[in-house]
Symmetry: C2
Subunit: 203 residues, 2 copies
């Protein structure tokens, strides 16, 4: 039973004040800095885009960035055209198109191993504040790369270097090693409604 | 019962060939072009980053881009520093920091309405190939903006203009109107382990 009339402005103010107190306390508790390992997985659209958005963020803070693209279906992507020409960006395409195009297991494994050597060099380069390993999970899932080796190289990287790994089906051990994991759930995709990949959002 | 020895190379080749056929058929069916409405929602990290990655993609294809940021907690973000200075980008910050800082319902509603007028102008500008409405869902959830008005303005936009809307708790009617919806599930976040927001990935 309410004995006092409810003032919506006052009730809003009180709710926001409580929320602010909770948020402020959480922010006060989070006081560490470290190089983060982020994993973006799941079947939904937006994993690689998210990694490229972090590249833009990093460039805005003057960080240098390494991008290793392991699987890549086309050569006319906007992210490569725009980001690879920025000062401070090292951009390496390490796959040979979508792998179901090659249909050659030995060749795919070799391509993966050579690609990882390039990624490892980035993970040993303390001048890179952010390293993106785009679509790496696919190589782990297929067994073309040894997960233990990948985890050891990630663990041995410079302490303030951030790493973003994208791709479907990230292995549990990789998620365990990560600081932040988001799973993108595919609620709906325009492709299934007959819309092809659109420049500026899909590529 | 296998009467023939299994050749792993051959089995891999056959599997990849079948996969390629399925993928090729799906690509052949998807033959429409249209301005997409994308919604990135859920509690996981990466929604706004993903939108900013699409800005980078769009710039790589020479599109012009409008970004409206409705809720913004700080002024030192990398995305603003880097993307707002690019040719072809119109960048507008429309909030007054995180809204629980203001604790004033009337003022929050006014800020939201004024912000939407700016967004609406972007949605009427056919020279913009991509419009990002960052954290818009929050204003809808709070009731500061009328959902029907927002949906009508989205519907009336130029047919080839892509729109990306980010934020937690996207309303069902917005997801129904969208072409592509990804829900980011928060599997793990470094913040909960005591790591504060890191430049280059979180801001």
């Amino acid at each position: 039973m309410h004995l006092l009339p409810i003032d919506p402005e006052e009730s809003h103010r009180a709710r926001m004040e409580r929320k602010k107190a909770v948020v402020d306390a959480a922010i006060a508790r989070a006081d560490q800095d470290k190089g983060l390992l982020l994993v973006l997985t799941g079947n939904g659209k937006g994993k690689s885009s998210s990694a490229f958005g972090m590249v833009a963020r990093a460039l805005g803070h003057g960080l240098h960035v390494g991008v290793a693209q392991f699987i890549k279906g086309r050569s006319d992507t906007g992210e490569e055209a725009f980001l690879s020409r920025q000062a401070g960006v090292v951009w390496r395409v390490l796959g040979e198109g979508f792998t179901w195009e090659t249909q050659d297991l030995t060749r795919d494994t070799e391509t993966a191993q050579n690609g990882w050597a390039v990624a490892r060099a980035m993970l040993r380069d303390a001048s890179l504040g952010l390293v993106v390993l785009d679509e790496l999970t696919y190589l782990l899932k297929r067994g073309w790369l040894d997960l233990a080796t990948v985890l050891a190289d990630l663990e041995a990287r410079p302490p303030m270097q951030h790493v973003v790994i994208t791709g479907r089906g990230a292995p549990d051990a990789l998620c365990d090693a990560a600081d932040t994991v988001s799973e993108l759930r595919d609620v709906k995709h325009a492709f299934r409604a007959g819309v092809r990949a659109q420049k500026g959002v899909d590529l």
